[in-house]
Amino acid sequence: MTPLAKLLEAALFASGRPIPTDELAALDEDSSAAAVAAALDEIREHYDVEGHGVELVEIAGGWQILTRAEYTEAIERAQLAARPQRLSGAALETLAIIAYRQPISRADIEEIRGVAVGGVLKSLHERGLIDVVGRAEGLGRPLLYGTTPLFLEHFALRHLEELPRADELAIALRVVASSDATPSPNAAE
């Protein structure tokens, strides 16, 4: 590829929006409008002839590099199938604190975890695993969080009391680790 074509390719790749022809021309003062047009042709042809996964497209009075339509489906499918999303360690720990200490305020969760949990609370809320269940008394009357029925559903729990008590946790962990299967919810009672 010619030096101008390489420069245009880098700019088109880095830009967050389609770039109009006159802005592309401003990239290199020594190049004429005709040279820029020729370089754009060169890029487009190169992508087509060499068989790239991307193409150069003219959109809304500007130019943009886009992935070819035939691959978007595979990419989307991979993202969807991208194995069901896991919660981050931070999200799991926050969820665990809420499950055991509900109703609990954000400040109390932050005190236990030692870090800000605003973002994590938001994403747990968006996923429907927690909800606002009330307000505390006292200064500022902070929101209190608790788990939702969806939370129980996810863990195949009938009610919160099915979670092992803190002092039984070590035993429960050993049992769960050895069976490694989702516990069938027909233990006691």
Partner: protein, 244 residues
């Protein structure tokens, strides 16, 4: 020195201080400038240079520099103590400082590497235009009870015990505060509360400074004077103890 000149020099000093990321950085710079070995620092000379650099500084901003000044003075004094030629048990008072300087210099080496790498990365752009996320936020969630329980376990391991009370993160450091105050009074005749406690000091720092002041006053090392109720407390060297 006239008031304007003094203000002038204070200002230039603050500008200069910004070049250093801390007392160890300043110390390392002096050692480089003097072209001496880290492992065999001429402590009297370096100490003098260090004090000269921080002299006239806005003291309330420089507690960490003053702490280092106090440390250097202490090492200098220890170096002057007489010792017999063949004393095998003699420990170089500079040893701890040397260890810290070497460790610090090693870290600065890593900083150079990181700076290089980040510059390399900064000079490349990632893809700017991004298609809207095709995956709706409701993509299936992989959650298992074992995962949740291990999270509980982690929280319990990590949480301060008992859960309801938070332990004070740092104990008082009265000795450190005393060293700082002594260092301030070694460069200044008189100081104020604001000089010994930084404006954004945490409660433990305020308490440490207060206890240190009271202790030093009790030992007769300094005098605390308040001309009238709610006036600024003046902290000064005790003339009597100095004469002694």
């Amino acid at each position: 020195m006239s008031a304007t000149l003094e203000a002038e020099s204070t200002r230039t000093f603050i500008v200069e201080l910004d070049q250093f990321s801390g007392p160890l950085d300043l110390l390392l710079t002096l050692i480089r400038e003097e072209e001496v070995e880290i492992t065999d620092i001429p402590i009297a000379r370096i100490c003098e240079q260090f004090l000269a650099r921080i002299h006239g500084l806005e003291l309330s901003d420089a507690a960490e520099y003053l702490e280092m000044a106090a440390r250097l003075l202490r090492i200098k004094a220890q170096m002057l103590l007489p010792r017999s030629q063949d004393d095998e048990s003699w420990e170089d008072p500079r040893a701890e400082l040397v260890r810290r300087l070497l460790e610090y210099q090693q870290m600065r080496e890593v900083v150079d590497v990181l700076e290089d790498r980040s510059e390399e990365r900064r000079n490349r752009f990632a893809r700017g235009w991004l298609p809207a996320d095709p995956a709706p936020p409701s993509s299936p969630l992989a959650l298992s009870l074992p995962e949740l329980l291990s999270a509980v376990d982690r929280v319990l391991r990590v949480a301060t015990r008992p859960l309801l009370h938070d332990i004070v993160p740092r104990a008082l450091d009265v000795d450190g505060a005393m060293a700082t105050i002594r260092a301030i009074l070694s460069v200044r005749v008189m100081a104020r509360w604001a000089d010994v406690v930084r404006p954004n000091a945490e409660p433990w720092q305020v308490l440490s400074a207060l206890l240190a002041l009271l202790e030093l006053a009790r030992r007769g090392e300094l005098k605390l004077v308040q001309v009238r109720p709610f006036a600024v407390v003046e902290i000064s060297r005790d003339a009597a103890s100095e004469a002694a």
